[in-house]
């Protein structure tokens, strides 16, 4: 059994996790905060991405759009991470063995890499193209990729609770590929 799986199993036995899992309102409140924060986090990020693609606020400098809006995006991200971590904590094992959750975490890392690469390459030379109504191709690609990542993240997040209908570890037999991807523990059966 993997270390992560054991960690999740242990997390699930902590009193905080059980309390959140069995709470009447708290879990739903955290879930609602997580969903509604989309407006702040992805909403402001999308405006920045659209500016990078030259699709909005063409007369405003790119650096201006970024410095004014990204603090709001960052605040949204913080709320997302906190509420998301609590949603994980409420059902660690169920999330860990959820294909959509796993894919979402991978996508989140890829989205982060996209942002990191942008800030360390294309954005370093922003002074050259700051005023361009339509930024250079590299910036447009980063903006477009980011939008694709948000779309994928939202879809995968929405699919997480539907796992039980399709590829639940507790509903065997499942195709081998599903068991591998979801990290189902099939030895003990």
């Amino acid at each position: 059994m993997s270390l992560l799986l054991r960690l999740c199993e242990w997390l699930a036995t902590t009193s905080g996790s059980i309390a959140l899992h069995e709470s009447r309102y708290m879990y739903l409140i955290v879930l609602s905060v997580h969903v509604l924060t989309l407006c702040l986090f992805v909403g402001t990020a999308a405006i920045v991405d659209l500016r990078l693609m030259g699709l909005t606020m063409q007369s405003v400098r790119v650096s201006e759009v970024m410095t004014r809006l990204l603090p709001w995006t960052a605040a949204g991200f913080l709320l997302m991470i906190i509420s998301g971590a609590l949603l994980f904590y409420a059902a660690p094992l169920l999330r860990y063995q959820n294909i959509f959750f796993r894919a979402k975490m991978v996508t989140l890392v890829l989205a982060g890499v996209n942002v990191w690469v942008f800030h360390n390459t294309v954005y370093r030379r922003v002074a050259v193209w700051d005023q361009d109504p339509v930024p250079p191709r590299s910036a447009r690609v980063v903006g477009g990729l980011a939008l694709v990542f948000w779309v994928v993240l939202i879809t995968l997040g929405r699919m997480i609770p539907y796992q039980v209908y399709w590829f639940d570890c507790n509903r065997q037999p499942q195709p081998a590929i599903v068991n591998v991807l979801a990290g189902c523990n099939t030895d003990s059966r």
Partner: protein
């Protein structure tokens, strides 16, 4: 035909029955609805923040409002059809009885009228002639109305 009969007819029409028989369709439509939620959040927030003197505060309000309006319309084009489909899927067995849904529809109507009539007029007006207190009030009303739409929308999805 009563409202309930209408909801029944919609929900049990062949197209909607076919849609319900697939377990993928509903969550996919809901996902697209959430993408619209994110986008409308951005398009509304940039203008409301600007009216409050936050965010893109060095740009003229009218320009921010004009730039954002296009994406506000795009988000509505995403939200309204996907919202309508979700309503149609369970019109008679869920939405008809749900207070949150009817409150959302009322708040949505108010929010749309307020945004495209009042807020638009204030945002596009000559800034120097606009009392900043009015701008802030308009932003707060807009944020409250749309928050009501979002929160009641979230309540519809709760168990």
């Amino acid at each position: 035909m009563s409202l309930f009969e209408f909801c029944e007819r919609v929900q049990y029409s062949p197209l909607l029955s076919a849609m319900r028989s697939s377990s993928w369709v509903f969550p996919l439509i809901a996902s697209i609805h959430l993408m619209g939620l994110a986008l409308i959040g951005g398009a509304l927030l940039v203008v409301d923040l600007r009216l409050l003197g936050l965010g893109l505060r060095h740009q003229p309000v009218a320009q921010v409002a004009r730039d954002a309006e296009r994406w506000l319309l795009v988000s509505l084009l995403v939200l309204l059809p996907t919202g309508l489909l979700q309503f149609m899927c369970f019109a008679a067995t869920k939405y008809y009885y749900l207070t949150a849904f009817w409150v959302k529809m009322a708040a949505l109507s108010l929010a749309l009228v307020f945004t495209f009539v009042v807020r638009r007029k204030v945002a596009m007006a000559e800034e120097t002639r606009m009392n900043p207190v009015w701008s802030k009030l308009v932003a707060l009303v807009s944020l409250s109305l749309w928050s009501t739409v979002a929160i009641t929308g979230r309540l519809i999805g709760l168990p």
